[in-house]
């Protein structure tokens, strides 16, 4: 892999970029993979040449198919419970087990979740959508078919906007869009546990029948970073809407990537499908690896076959999947047990229908919460922070609220507070793998500390020391800590003046240099005063005093 990356670097002539963290946050935070990217996308979104220079460039094309588990109490077509990790086959109804004589009954909440998601992604909601059967044989699909919406899905033609840092400087954030082809409702399958030792598969149907929203994106992306950013934004949107909790680790958000490469001006290349991607970080890695693999293969005169590959997170590469030979024929047919799904809006609302049987798109639209992009804009507008700050804030669950609470309780300007939140608090949390909720430093404590700083009772170096102490969670207030460690700034002007004079008197050479015009030496004097006061002097005030004395 390293040799390949090196090749790319040479061929790109330095276009190769190393991903940096944004907003001076420590490594490990943020949605993007740490360290090196395998592929560099230029500002226009195209790909740079790989391999030996002189070859025509390759354009990678990435499309995503995302399955989001709907957050609901019961399943899509039956009344059994939706819950992660329960005793095997305990959340299974007769319908889920596909026993004869059972019929699907559509869950209203699932439809609402899909409509909300469609509206949030700027889709056209189909007032009439249809259900179909997709047939294939697998042990965890007891019916032998999955009920889905292949012909007319519930929502079509939407878009998802997401942001990326296009270079190492934090200030350059660019907004990109990926088109959403459609959103459809479908059933989840059960879970298979492969027991190779005993040559058998164990099947748990708890997950069978859970409602899913399948989001199909157009292949508008060109690299792993874009795919990761898009999925991260989608995750935030789903969590804000509440339509899905979208936790990838629990299988509530599953992403399959379709990857191909082609030369500019030529038709799209053969695509491969990459599955088994368990986190956003791995998504970027898997996509970039696959792009690189295809480029290498084609560069060596090989061909790409339309196959399904699995991402091996340990090895960091994709491998062909067994069991998936050839193109599947799903023999789609209309689901005969379900009439079309009809949705209404304010204009078409039927007069004398039971409320419970009516889903009103406009009613749902009016009640949509603020989406992440809107929340970010509001934070920037209200508090005067930078867009990148707002981006990092929203990326962390609970952090915007924490920030707002601190701002409410302190006189320090929000623009200064944000620095403490993103640089100090967030990096502490990341170092110790804690969520905002688990922070030993509450917003109240931090606000208290920042007030001391704002009132100039302590220096900012002292404040950092206090924060380190507070972090240990021993229950002391900032003021107590300051007193204990004797960190208060010297308030006695006279005493400070005396110390300054003493330093001046003891540093003849430096004084001469300053008087001769070398201002930089002043910093040395300031440093000496700091030493004498054990860090308890206000550097700005010290500078003023020294300058005044030296000009006398």
């Amino acid at each position: 892999m390293a040799a390949v990356l090196a090749m790319v670097a040479r061929g790109c002539g330095g276009v190769w970029r190393r991903l940096r963290q944004r907003c001076a946050v420590r490594p490990g935070s943020g949605p993007f993979p740490r360290g090196e990217r395998a592929v560099a996308c230029n500002a226009r979104g195209g790909m740079m040449s790989a391999g030996k220079s002189g070859l025509t460039p390759w354009i990678p094309v990435v499309g995503l198919e995302i399955h989001a588990q709907i957050s609901s109490n019961s399943k899509l077509f039956s009344g059994s419970q939706v819950q992660f990790a329960a005793p095997p086959n305990s959340l299974v109804s007769f319908f889920d087990a596909s026993l004869p004589g059972t019929l699907p009954v559509l869950n209203r909440r699932c439809v609402e979740a899909a409509v909300m998601t469609g509206l949030a992604l700027n889709c056209h909601i189909n007032k009439k959508s249809l259900f179909d059967r997709k047939h294939y044989f697998y042990a965890d699909l007891p019916a032998g078919y999955q009920i889905t919406q292949q012909r007319v899905p519930i929502a079509v033609n939407g878009s998802l906007s997401y942001s990326l840092c296009i270079d190492n400087k934090m200030s350059q954030m660019v907004t990109k869009t990926v088109r959403i082809k459609q959103i459809q409702l479908e059933q989840d399958s059960g879970k298979s546990l492969h027991d190779d030792a005993r040559s058998q598969t164990l099947v748990d149907l708890n997950r069978a029948g859970v409602g899913l929203m399948e989001l199909v994106m157009e292949p508008d992306m060109c690299c792993g970073e874009e795919a990761a950013a898009a999925v991260r934004e989608l995750q935030l949107i789903l969590q804000t809407l509440g339509s899905s909790q979208a936790v990838m680790a629990e299988g509530q958000l599953r992403v399959d990537a379709n990857v191909s490469v082609h030369h500019p001006g030529e038709p799209y290349g053969v695509r491969t499908e990459v599955k088994n991607i368990n986190s956003i970080r791995f998504l970027a890695k898997a996509v970039d690896y696959e792009i690189q693999r295809q480029i290498e293969e084609l560069g060596n005169g090989g061909t790409i076959s339309n196959e399904t590959r699995a991402f091996d997170s340990k090895l960091g590469c994709t491998v062909p999947m067994r069991d998936k030979e050839g193109k599947q024929d799903y023999r789609f047919m209309p689901e005969p047990n379900l009439p079309p799904l009809i949705l209404y809006d304010a204009k078409s609302l039927p007069a004398n229908m039971n409320h419970q049987q009516v889903i009103n798109i406009d009613w749902i639209r009016e009640r949509l919460p603020d989406l992440p992009s809107v929340k970010r804009e509001k934070l920037v507008e209200q508090y005067g922070i930078l867009p990148e700050h707002s981006f990092t804030l929203l990326n962390e669950d609970g952090l915007p609220e924490f920030f707002e609470n601190v701002v409410k309780q302190t006189q320090m300007k929000p623009k200064k507070v944000i620095g403490w939140i993103l640089n100090d608090l967030l990096s502490y949390l990341k170092q110790h793998s804690l969520t905002v909720k688990e922070s030993p430093v509450s917003s109240f404590l931090l606000a208290d500390l920042l007030n001391l700083l704002e009132k100039k009772e302590i220096s900012s170096t002292a404040a950092k020391q206090v924060l380190a102490e507070l972090w240990k969670g021993k229950g002391k207030t900032p003021l107590e800590t300051v007193k204990e460690q004797k960190l208060e700034l010297l308030q006695d002007q006279k005493e400070l003046e005396q110390i300054c004079q003493a330093v001046i008197d003891g540093q003849e050479n430096e004084v001469m240099a300053i008087k001769a015009g070398n201002q930089k030496v002043l910093n040395k004097l300031i440093g000496l005063v700091q030493k004498k006061t054990q860090g308890r002097s206000n550097p700005v005030l010290v500078k003023q005093l020294l300058e005044k004395k030296l000009s006398e």
Partner: protein
């Protein structure tokens, strides 16, 4: 609705009468397979089902055509169904469910079922600690003792 009534005619073994209302007068029905004036069963050039298609079907539907009679029966069934092409469906919305005029009932999101592990597992031939047991990998095509399927044998 037209499709339903056609079914009745087919079962009776007769060819459905022309429906004059469906076409402007004096205009032969177009866009369908030219079979000539309809008689009992159209004997015209029907498609012969290729071996590749048959193998594909066996693999997909996990059936075994077993012998030439099975394949012949399939052939006849396709021929029989091809009669549907006789019907002029210009301007007719395809029907995909007899329920199309009904309201799709929406259920409230309450937990009302489940917790019947024991009952469900009773039907299974083999279970392991409350899991169903299935063969490894995907479900294979059942092979007769030492015998290949008819198609495999005829290659």
């Amino acid at each position: 609705m037209r499709v339903l009534s056609l079914g009745r005619w087919l079962r009776a073994g007769r060819v459905p009468p022309r429906e004059p209302a469906s076409r402007p007068s004096g205009h032969r029905h177009s866009g369908h397979r030219p079979q000539g004036p309809p008689q009992e069963l159209p004997q015209g050039p029907s498609q012969k089902v290729s071996v590749e298609v048959l193998e594909h079907l066996e693999h997909l539907a996990l059936v075994d055509f077993r012998d030439s009679e099975g394949v012949e029966r399939l052939q006849k069934a396709i021929q029989f169904a091809d009669q549907l092409h006789e019907v002029n469906t210009d301007g007719v919305e395809p029907m995909d469910s007899v329920l199309e005029d009904r309201c799709l009932y929406l259920r409230e999101d309450d937990v009302t079922e489940g917790n019947c592990t024991k009952e469900l597992l009773e039907n299974a031939r083999e279970t392991v600690e409350e899991y169903f047991v299935a063969p490894p990998g995907n479900i294979p095509l059942v092979k007769l003792e030492g015998q290949k399927t008819f198609l495999q044998g005829s290659k």
